[in-house]
């Protein structure tokens, strides 16, 4: 990091204020429940909670990878696979 971007560590009062600001955004963006998960649980507890979320989502048929960074690649691969199959089928005697 560029040293000019480093600031002195926040005082206890500033830290409390930053935590309030952070929490307020968590609640606005994700709701009270996830604010608690993110700000009050340990990392291990947060993983347990996420595990429950994923299991529940998958149980209801939600594909968590559908929004991943390679979603467009998966779509492209499916398209190309279909095009190639059509070519192969049409070139057969």
């Amino acid at each position: 990091m560029n040293p000019s971007m480093k600031m002195p560590p926040p005082t206890p009062a500033q830290l409390r204020r930053l935590q309030q600001i952070e929490r307020a955004f968590h609640v606005r963006a994700f709701g009270e429940e996830l604010a608690r998960v993110n700000l009050e649980l340990t990392e291990a507890e947060r993983w347990d909670y996420l595990s429950w979320m994923r299991t529940t989502a998958e149980h209801h048929g939600i594909d968590l990878r559908a929004q991943g960074v390679h979603a467009w690649m998966d779509r492209l691969e499916a398209e190309v696979e279909m095009e190639e199959l059509v070519k192969e089928t049409s070139s057969q005697p």
């Binding site: 990091m1 000019s4 971007m5 480093k6 600031m7 002195p8 560590p9 926040p10 500033q14 830290l15 204020r17 930053l18 935590q19 600001i21 952070e22 307020a24 955004f25 968590h26 606005r28 963006a29 994700f30 996830l34 998960v37 993110n38 700000l39 990392e43 947060r46 993983w47 347990d48 909670y49 996420l50 595990s51 979320m53 994923r54 299991t55 989502a57 998958e58 594909d63 968590l64 990878r65 929004q67 991943g68 960074v69 390679h70 467009w72 690649m73 998966d74 492209l76 691969e77 190309v80 696979e81 190639e84």
Partner: protein, 306 residues
């Protein structure tokens, strides 16, 4: 593999890679969870220095999960090779297939990173600053994470956090108690408007986000066009499922050398990309023309392609 086992597997894998001297770090979703931001990802995204790719490939080839070997993901993954990663490509691996697959995505370059990521590794993870830059995508779900990574950076004493806050309310709250360095106000017009309590700050933040979204959408369309002939070539090579990495990697390299442009974004032109994204972000979105003045200079975020 349970979620807990999966998480443990990724951590152990990255720790082992680092112990072998491979410069690498976890980024994206798993890093967010580490930074107190729950994200329901099951994939591990790994930044790895391209000079360590052959070591990484050896490690992956030796690593089995539940008796399954590591393989390139489908026909689509570009090879793990410095030439293509310098051009902004990424490589994708998995152990097994379908919803239960264990997946690893490797980035030689931090996409949209404004500087080298190698000095920003802390333990197994990359810094929140790099994660926040990489998350500037065209996916809605990424944006609240960016703001929270920004507030976390400010909490850690890293002023670069100011560059990542996209919430008008959060900016106003922060500015009540903290001051933003002049250097950053010059780099990000929306920050300057927030400091001046200008009512146009919300529109400026929206315009900036739209710019990043359009940049990502255009980037994807360029890489998609470039990937298609390579994908066809890899498919026609008819590599069997589970082919060992040591055998499939040279075949992918051969396909890439003939069919995969090394740096499609650079070929397209960075200035051209930025201009097109700025146009789409403002004019096609119905924002007033003045909003162009609120957009930051994003050229440094594509310097990784040089």
């Amino acid at each position: 593999m349970t979620d807990k086992e999966l998480h443990g597997f990724y951590l152990e894998l990255v720790a082992r890679l680092q112990a072998r001297g491979i410069l690498c770090a976890i980024t994206s979703g798993l890093a967010c969870v580490h930074f107190q931001l729950a994200e329901t990802t099951k994939d591990c995204d790994l930044l790895c220095h391209p000079q360590n790719f052959s070591l990484l490939l050896d490690e992956l080839a030796a690593q089995q999960v539940g008796g399954l070997p590591c393989a390139y993901r489908g026909n689509l993954s570009p090879p793990l090779d410095e030439r293509w990663h310098r051009g902004g490509w990424t490589s994708h691996f998995n152990w097994g297939r379908g919803p239960g697959a264990v997946t690893l995505d490797v980035f030689g370059r931090a996409l949209r990173g404004s500087g080298p990521w190698e000095g920003e590794v802390s333990g197994l993870y990359i810094s929140p600053h790099i994660v926040a830059q990489m998350k500037r995508t065209n996916r809605d779900k990424d944006w609240p994470f960016i703001t929270l990574l920004g507030t976390r950076l400010v909490k850690m004493g890293d002023q670069r956090g100011w560059l990542h806050i996209f919430s008008e309310d959060t900016l106003a709250e922060l500015l009540r108690d903290f001051s933003c360095p002049a250097e950053l106000l010059a780099r990000r017009p929306a920050l300057r408007l927030a400091v001046e309590r200008d009512q146009r700050v919300r529109a400026a933040l929206l315009a900036e986000r739209l710019l990043w979204e359009r940049l990502d959408a255009l980037r994807i369309s360029i890489y998609e066009r470039a990937l298609r002939p390579y994908l066809v070539a890899v498919r026609r090579a008819r590599m069997p499922d589970g082919m060992p990495l040591a055998e499939s990697h040279p075949i992918r390299l051969q396909c890439a050398e003939v069919h995969l442009a090394v740096s499609p974004l650079r070929d397209y032109g960075i200035e051209r990309l930025i201009e097109a994204a700025r146009h789409e972000a403002i004019h096609k979105s119905g924002l007033i023309a003045e909003a162009t003045l609120w957009l930051p200079d994003v050229r440094e975020n594509f310097a990784y392609l040089n």
